[in-house]
Symmetry: C2
Subunit: 463 residues, 2 copies
């Protein structure tokens, strides 16, 4: 079966389950659901919640075997987790929270209302409560908020077989066993050793001989974007997180990083289109007022900028009144400016995001964009000259006005589009904000002034 067929099969299964739930055949529905793995059951529950509402979702969720329900719960989006928490008993909540992996536990607690969190923490042993509170206090986008304290600790003095026995004992409760951490004198991180190295090594070798002391680590307050960069660069399974005293406080595993990469990319893409959204709420789960609020700041900015462009155009009223045909070429030049600028900006913003372009490459980038813009500017101006003269039947001087403006506008737009994001980065501003909305606002102004100025000069119209 290829992937498409698997997807189709899954969709059919979901429809069948929805049908069974609708006719209240709960036990049959449960049996169908349990044919799937926990990740897929999570997706099925999302569908049930969306199509049939909260009540049926809670019923079927409570009918799942306890261990399955915990696994499934951990794979649900956080809104759905909150919905379920509100529908089940305190005892059921406590059971689920207790059984969750530590990092999932923190994620859930972060989303729940304070009174529910308090109730859960009341029943938690004092030591764990303290740890949970520490983790809950890390800022939302730093390494600390991604990590788990459930890792395998080894001692330098252990032999391989002692270490393996330790892993056998602790392995069930650890987030990963594939990288183990060697601590010395209390909590300072001394080295790391992979399970592969342990498995391949002789039983009586010492951990101190096997461990890697030149490991890569992150600080607990490092931004999650930097942590993701480090993962991408080295292809790690897990990375140790240390505090300012170099004590090991937790580890971050790659599965949590995949989510960070996706979130950060989404944020970048949205900013590049002028949408400011600092939540991780999915499109469909967000209310219309929130959607509107995320979009209005840039729209107002661009609106005001377009008002200014409009006012500039009016200064050339005499030119326009005399040669009304120019009005029809204005959108052409403005859109070319915006589009060419936006192409350059997008390539440079993305290039910086994936580390292909550095700030010190600014001159190289500018020189490249200059040459590209000459090629594009000349091509487009020939196309437009031909259109103005042969199709519109205008005078050659009008065609020349359009063509000359076109070249100047394309060169300006490409340079602005490529250098503005780099300047923003230099100043500590997110380069993604310098994409299309900003670039096209600025090029619109430039394009109209350039075109109308050249027109008045070439056509000999006094302003």
């Amino acid at each position: 079966m290829d992937t498409d067929m698997k997807t189709q099969q899954f969709d059919e299964d979901v429809d069948k389950i929805l049908g069974l739930l609708q006719e209240k055949s709960y036990f049959k529905a449960r049996d169908e659901i349990l044919k799937h793995n926990e990740v897929d059951i999570g997706e099925i529950l999302e569908e049930v919640l969306e199509s049939l509402g909260v009540e049926k979702t809670i019923i079927i969720f409570r009918m799942l075997p306890k261990d399955v329900s915990v696994e499934v719960f951990s794979h649900l989006p956080s809104d759905d987790q909150v919905t379920i928490v509100h529908g089940i008993t305190d005892r059921e909540i406590s059971y689920i929270i207790e059984e969750l992996d530590f990092d999932d536990k923190i994620d859930v607690l972060e989303e729940l209302p304070a009174n529910i969190v308090d109730k859960i923490l009341e029943n938690t042993p004092k030591e764990e409560r303290k740890l949970i509170n520490t983790f809950l206090n890390y800022p939302d986008t730093c390494a600390g908020s991604l990590m788990t304290p459930d890792y395998i600790s080894l001692q330098e003095t252990m032999t391989v077989s002692e270490a393996m026995a330790h892993i056998k004992h602790e392995g069930m409760d650890s987030e990963t066993v594939y990288t183990c951490y060697v601590k010395k004198g209390g909590r300072k991180l001394d080295g790391i050793v992979s399970l592969r190295a342990l498995v391949i090594a002789d039983d009586d070798m010492k951990i101190s001989e096997l461990m890697n002391t030149d490991y890569v680590y992150v600080n607990v307050y490092d931004d999650q974007e930097e942590v993701a960069e480090t993962f991408k660069k080295y292809g790690f399974l897990a990375i140790p997180v240390v505090d300012n005293e170099h004590r090991l406080v937790g580890i971050i595993t790659f599965d949590d990083i995949l989510e960070v990469i996706e979130e950060e990319t989404t944020e970048d893409i949205q900013r590049m289109a002028g949408v400011m959204d600092d939540s991780d709420t999915e499109y469909l789960d967000m209310g219309v007022f929130r959607h509107a609020r995320n979009r209005i700041p840039w729209l107002v900015f661009m609106n005001i900028s377009a008002m200014i462009t409009g006012t500039i155009i009016l200064r050339f009223e005499t030119v326009l009144a005399q040669v009304i045909i120019l009005v029809s070429y204005l959108p052409l030049l403005m859109s070319t400016g915006g589009n060419t600028g936006s192409q350059a900006a997008t390539l440079v913003i993305r290039g910086m995001a994936v580390d292909d372009i550095d700030l010190k490459d600014a001159l190289k980038v500018a020189w490249k964009e200059f040459r590209i813009s000459i090629i594009l500017g000349i091509s487009l101006s020939i196309l437009n000259m031909a259109k103005v003269v042969f199709i519109d039947g205008q005078k050659v001087i009008i065609g020349f006005t359009v063509a000359l403006s076109m070249i100047i506008i394309v060169v300006f737009a490409k340079l602005l589009g490529s250098l503005l994001p780099m300047a923003a980065k230099k100043l500590g501003i997110d380069p993604a904000l310098m994409a299309n909305p900003m670039i096209s606002s600025l090029t619109d102004m430039f394009s109209s002034v350039t075109f109308l100025l050249i027109a008045s000069l070439l056509l000999g119209i006094t302003l």
Copy 2:
């Protein structure tokens, strides 16, 4: 040290090394280089190549210990690998190629000129040559091109301790040891078992008791984007790749998937800005003609569309000639249409890419965007009405013309922006192509017609 300080330290180290190489202190430079790990040495060599040219890069590369040089080579971008291959002897090439992990080997061979590949394959044992040729023949963007045949195979009948002994023996040459694959009757995949399960289990348990037979797999011809989706969904370390007869042909590990995710996202982002680039060449490594070629198709499309908009505007010449102030509001309405439409398109395209939005949500999306556009349309029209009447000192009827057009344009743009990408996906066209360039081309036409039509109606001007 936090990450910023580490980066700064690294930059200083690189500068020092560049300095040493410039004054030809090769041995000192090598010693400095060898203080870093292989990934970082790769970055250093990239810098050397960029700043000091091929010759010095080759010299220092050949001075690295052999095992280090292979590791470093595998981390270099493919252009740089080709550069180095051209500068070293055939014997050195053969050594490096032989020592590379199988999937890296395939990646390198794919980039090398055919005559070099032939020379390398001549010295390869027949069995491996056959395997290499099979792998080289998989299409560039399918699962087959990402996989490696170096995995751990186990038999169902093995005990845990037999399996562990097997892993100890084979582990060095395997891409990963953390997931092992159980095959029955020759090559059919029967189940998978994690090293964690093996380590935790009792020594005399049978693999058949431990293995998971309900595993997720991909087909060798599945598209790499689908494979990446599967990794993201399940958080796998590795996934088995099977052929149409369900024989295990290889595995894909998560580190290769991180690259795929980055490439696919870059392609999407570029398409959303009207740049068509099907290569993975980095921005700075691409020639200006190639850059121009990637950008010109959309520019011409948008240019022609703007010509049509211009022609439409000219049909309203009488309106414009009578009330020239309208010309100054045209860019305002056109840019609002483009920007609001592009916001909606971007959110929907990204929402579909990360599976938050399904095709069956089309009605929900449209209803949401309709309500959002009413809120935004009314807000913006109040702002603009005020500007036209109080700042520009125009008649209320002109303000009303702008305000009414604004609402209609915003509603249209949001609906078009959200539904066009979904329609594209339904038709099997990449939704990313329906972002800003396409949307703003279409809304520009709609905006100018709407505005000028409403103006002629409200102002009582016969066309």
